[in-house]
């Protein structure tokens, strides 16, 4: 983003007018999007935007004793947090399909309130990178019988690459997948220095990741359907996770990488399609997360996450337009109405039923 100091004198008014206009547009986009979600999806259909198929669990997070990351008021050494997590598969109600998998974390044991929430998905890069690209992504979904985003993949090769890196098929467990938040957040340390941070979660025992397609196809990436002669059921991953937690618990390593902010920041730093170089931005252990209790379907469905549940020093980076890479989190932050609409719908219409173990495969809507 250009700073006013770099703009020729005499054009500053025009620049600020542009900025104001951009921010107004962004606000309208975000608010309108949230409202549309609430009115047409969350309340009537009782759905989240994408990750309806999930399983929640609780445990604790202990921050490392000797942190290598910058000192911070929130993540103090040795501090423990109660934790509620939710693993999910995006879009479809069938674990055996080729889906993006997620891990969302609340540092509390409440389904709504929390001092810190973070949502992460598999794959180091995303499928979209700004508000405008996300809306295009939503518009071009065109889902039918388990095939979606065909036109989006054809037009936007970066989105296609994101889909190829994020999709997981036949993963053996939610536990061994690597989850990334992809978009950067603020990280202001106790030293007052402004930084940006990205987070990820990996298995604590470095178990190899499963479910990665070694040779994804450009043409067939839109086909997320189960394979022919599929033997895994619609809930196989959730059952595996439930058994694992009851049997031995699930341990994760919560990590962070930081980037010092600068005045002439290259906008690409905020681009969640651009992976920060690990040599310059090594992944540092934030804490160990231990999960020991599975929540039931009702509690899992009620559990919701929000980027607004973050300390100011660790929160969302401001965005200035719908093209801004930080506009994704801006839109997330302005979607409270959608979350609340969904919770309200459970009170009005009742809880949605669990996903049945039947032979109705490749579906994405409740009741199918």
């Amino acid at each position: 983003m250009k700073h006013s100091a770099h703009i020729a004198p005499g054009r500053i008014e025009a620049y600020w007018l542009h900025r104001l206009f951009d921010m107004v547009v962004l606000w309208i986009y975000a608010k309108l999007f949230g409202l549309m979600l609430a009115l047409f999806l969350c309340f009537p259909k009782q759905q989240r935007m994408s990750h309806n198929n999930g399983i929640a669990a609780t445990g604790k997070l202990r921050i490392v004793d000797h942190p290598e990351f910058p000192e911070n008021e929130f993540f103090t050494p040795g501090r423990e947090f109660p934790v509620r997590i939710r693993h999910a598969s995006a879009t479809f109600l069938d674990d055996a399909m080729n889906c993006i998998r997620s891990l969302s974390i609340k540092l509390s044991d409440h389904h709504f309130k929390s001092p810190f929430d973070i949502e992460m998905n598999t794959g180091e890069t995303s499928l979209f990178w700004s508000a405008v690209s996300f809306l295009k992504f939503a518009r071009l979904r065109g889902e039918k019988y388990g095939i979606e985003y065909r036109d989006y993949n054809r037009r936007y090769p970066d989105g296609l690459k994101g889909s190829q890196t994020a999709g997981r098929r036949h993963a053996s467990s939610f536990h061994n997948l690597h989850y990334y938040c992809k978009t950067p957040f603020l990280f202001i340390g106790t030293d007052g220095i402004k930084r940006y941070a990205k987070y990820r979660v990996i298995p604590a025992d470095n178990e190899p990741e499963t479910g990665i397609d070694p040779d994804p196809s450009e043409w067939d990436q839109c086909n997320q359907r189960i394979l022919k002669h599929e033997t895994r059921g619609r809930n196989y991953l959730k059952y595996e996770y439930e058994d694992r937690v009851w049997r031995e618990g699930a341990r994760y390593r919560f990590q962070v990488q930081t980037h010092p902010a600068s005045d002439n920041e290259d906008p690409e730093v905020f681009n969640n399609m651009v992976v920060w170089d690990e040599d310059a931005h090594p992944w540092l252990d934030l804490g160990i997360m231990e999960i020991d209790h599975i929540l039931d379907w009702r509690e899992s469905t009620l559990t919701t996450f929000s980027v607004n549940n973050m300390p100011r020093a660790l929160g969302v980076i401001p965005a200035t337009s719908i093209f801004d890479y930080n506009s994704l989190n801006y839109m997330r932050a302005h979607s409270e109405i959608a979350r609340k609409a969904r919770i309200l719908s459970y009170k009005v219409w009742g809880m949605v039923p669990p996903i049945p173990d039947n032979d109705n495969r490749n579906v994405s809507d409740w009741g199918q």
């Binding site: 250009k2 295009k136 037009r155 970066d158 093209f323």
Partner: protein, 738 residues
């Protein structure tokens, strides 16, 4: 430009008209009198023609009604107004070179390939691509430009915010092609024309890459149904290239008088066939060299001296093969029907002419051998008959048969195949592949428009006049020209070697070749760095040339002569003769593609210059010089002398009919049963006038500024040398477009 239409010859000079000096003076005077000159000018209310593509063997679409001409005048005024509005639009809404980009954060990506009849064609490299936005007020803003890479992929960077500004109404992705080059301050400047414009919805641009996918271009494709490498030309005849306006204007203004003459004859033949004769048809067309000479020296053009002189220095530019048995004797061979598909109306025997050289260095015919049927009563295609000067009147008849066969061979083989089709294969490879390389500037001015004229020739000549006026059918002509193409190779080509100082044709050819090689050498050395940098284009040019070339003559199974000892002997004789005629070396190592040994040699097998073989640099020079030579001088020679040697119906024509008499074609000129019929007669003179009188695009005149001034200057320096050999340098065409 209108050509001079001289119908009356100047009186003979003083002195005995039969001594050599006087004869030479008469001939030179007749050459001056019948030389075609070009001047500009046009008049309103004169008949007009719609365009080159409206030329017909029958009645071309000509307008001669005053009312129609007036309406056409109004239409032309409307077109001028429309063009004026377009120019105004360009003036008010110019397209500046400035690129509107503050921060590159997005790209247009994709790939350009040739449209293929079955699936995808090969990639198109180095296409010039532009990305434009147009504002609500009509202004153009260039957002990006670039080129496709060697594999046809492109990645145009642009500023997303600049493209999505509110005041940008529409966005366009444009593909431009190099259509011509012109020289300004001695440097080549490429001119791009828009080939494809595709609108991009603003809402589709969301940052990062936007994939335009694979863009298939119907661009300089090879015809799938052709028997030689040919460009696919659209039905309107204006793609993949179009004639320059000057070329169209020149042809339109020059062809009208002869077109009206032809229409008059055709109408008369249709309505009152008995009222028109061949001499009357002849008299209605402009006088040619032989009719002019006959006026002063009756019978001279039927004599041995003229026969020998024209075989050596006329349109035929005969190839003299040494007689292995007689020292100082030479043979010219004109092959007849051979094994090609033919009709039973016209005769076309094999003609073998033996010459000795006179003291003045000109050839003297000693013997003419005719092999084949000479009448409709004969059926032995191998029957040989030999004639000598003592065998009058059959000697005179045999000379006529030789002239006719020679004219047929020259037109079909040397002219159409050897220059037109030969140049076209270089032209297609050139326009498909040469875009950034300076070789494009070297070749393009000489390669343009040939695909269009060949396309017109398919209909009017190969499938039209020649098939109706000679012994071969369309199928036979196609096969024959394909076989001749099987002898066309740049490697090892050299001009004809002179037999004597009187062999002015060979001397002029050598002189022009020296100029071409000097020009090409100088140009290539001057631009060596850039040529080497873009060697990939030279490689692709060579690959297209080779991959689409015909196989070496008679080598592919579908081109093989019929089985049998006599056919094989004939094929071997032809092969040996054509190898000399076209300087084709059969011992060279030739590329093999899909099991076929190709006639054309590779220029290079290396994609980059650092991998090129040492001889590739000279190969490039030789190939370019050859292409320029064929397109310019070799075509001009035949084209310019056509009317001299084919402008008198009874003197020579495309074919003699068998007729009904037992003597067949061995008959006097006043036997009209064997001469071309009336329709073919007027068509023949129409054609030869059309091809000779409507030329446009000369090296020294450089009407469109696209001929390198160096080439022109080198030619002008040798003006006197050429003039001494009877060649006007100002009449040498810069390309084959007629």
């Amino acid at each position: 430009m209108k050509a001079k239409t001289v119908k009356d010859a100047k009186p003979a000079r003083d002195g005995d008209p039969r001594d050599e000096k006087s004869i030479r003076a008469i001939i030179d005077q007749c050459k001056k009198d019948t030389r075609i000159e070009y001047r500009y000018g046009d008049g309103f209310f004169t008949p007009k023609m719609r365009g080159i593509n409206y030329l017909e063997l029958g009645r071309s679409k000509i307008i001669n009604s005053p009312i129609t001409i007036f309406i056409e005048w109004l239409y032309l005024k409307w077109r001028h107004l429309r063009d004026f509005v377009k120019r105004l639009e360009h003036a008010f809404f110019p397209r500046h070179e400035k690129i509107w980009c503050k921060h590159i954060d997005s790209h247009l990506v994709g790939r350009t390939i040739y449209e293929g009849d079955r699936g995808d064609g090969p990639p198109i490299h180095h296409l010039h691509l532009e990305f434009w936005g147009r504002t609500w007020l009509g202004s153009w803003r260039k957002l990006s430009e670039g080129k496709s890479d060697n594999d046809g992929y492109f990645r145009l960077p642009y500023d997303l915010r600049a493209a999505r500004r509110l005041w940008i109404r529409r966005l366009y992705f444009e593909v431009h092609t190099t259509t011509r080059v012109y020289f300004h301050e001695k440097k080549p400047r490429f001119h791009f024309d828009l080939w494809l414009r595709r609108e991009i919805a603003k809402s589709n641009l969301i940052g990062m890459d936007y994939n335009l996918r694979t863009i298939r271009l119907d661009f300089w494709r090879y015809r799938e149904d052709a028997y030689t490498p040919r460009a696919k030309v659209n039905a309107a005849g204006d793609e993949p290239e179009h004639y320059s306006q000057g070329r169209i204007d020149a042809l339109m203004s020059q062809v009208i008088p002869i077109e009206l003459t032809k229409i008059k004859h055709l109408d008369q033949i249709e309505l009152e066939p008995g009222t028109l004769t061949i001499p009357q048809i002849q008299a209605d067309y402009p006088m040619n060299l032989t009719t002019c000479i006959e006026k002063h020296l009756p019978g001279y053009t039927r004599g041995d001296d003229w026969f020998g002189e024209r075989m050596m220095n006329g349109m035929n530019r005969g190839t003299f093969q040494k007689d292995p048995k007689r020292e100082g004797h030479y043979w010219i061979h004109y092959f007849g029907k051979c094994w090609y598909d033919h009709n039973e109306v016209y005769a076309l025997p094999d003609v073998d002419i033996r010459f000795s050289l006179k003291e003045n260095g000109l050839p003297k015919p000693e013997e003419i051998v005719l092999t084949g049927c000479l009448s409709s009563h004969e059926h032995d295609i191998w029957k040989k008959r030999s004639f000598a000067p003592k065998d009058e009147p059959n000697w005179t008849y045999a000379k006529r048969v030789a002239r006719v066969n020679g004219a047929f061979n020259t037109e079909v083989e040397e002219h159409f195949a050897g220059t037109h089709l030969n140049t076209e294969q270089f032209a297609v490879a050139c326009f498909r592949n040469l875009k950034l390389s300076p070789i494009a500037a070297l070749l393009m001015p000489h390669m343009k428009e040939v695909s269009l004229i060949d396309h017109a020739a398919d209909k009017t000549l190969i499938g039209g006049y020649i098939a109706a006026a000679t012994a071969l059918t369309k199928t036979g002509l196609e096969q024959r020209t394909r076989d001749i193409m099987g002898f066309q190779d740049w490697k090892g080509w050299h001009p004809m070697k002179k037999l004597s100082e009187a062999h002015t044709c060979a001397r002029a050819e050598q002189l022009f070749w020296d100029i071409v090689t000097e020009y090409v050498d100088t140009f290539i050395e001057a631009w060596a760095d850039l040529i080497k940098e873009h060697w990939f284009e030279v490689y692709c040019f060579s690959e297209d040339l080779v991959n689409h070339a015909v196989p070496v003559a008679f080598s592919a199974p579908q081109d093989a002569p019929p089985k049998g000892k006599r056919w094989k002997t004939l094929a071997d004789r032809r092969f040996e003769y054509y190898c000399q005629q076209y300087c084709f070396d059969p011992t060279l190592d030739r590329p093999v593609v899909d099991g076929e040994t190709k006639a054309i040699s590779r220029v290079t097998a290396a994609k980059s210059f650092k991998d090129a073989a040492p001889e590739d640099w000279q190969n490039l020079k030789d190939a370019c010089a050859y292409a320029v030579m064929m397109a310019t001088y070799m075509h001009t020679w035949i084209n310019e002398h056509q009317y001299d040697d084919l402008g008198e119906i009874l003197y020579s024509c495309g074919g003699l009919r068998f007729g009904e008499k037992p003597e067949g074609i061995m008959a006097p000129e006043d036997d009209y049963d064997i001469a071309p019929d009336l329709v073919r007669s007027t068509q023949m003179l129409w054609f030869t006038n059309l091809l000779s009188r409507t030329e446009y695009g000369f090296i020294t005149r450089n009407e469109e500024g696209d001929v390198n001034p160096l080439f022109s200057d080198l030619l002008k320096k040798k003006r006197d040398d050429f003039a001494n050999l009877g060649v006007d340098v100002d009449a040498i065409e810069s390309r084959t477009n007629i």
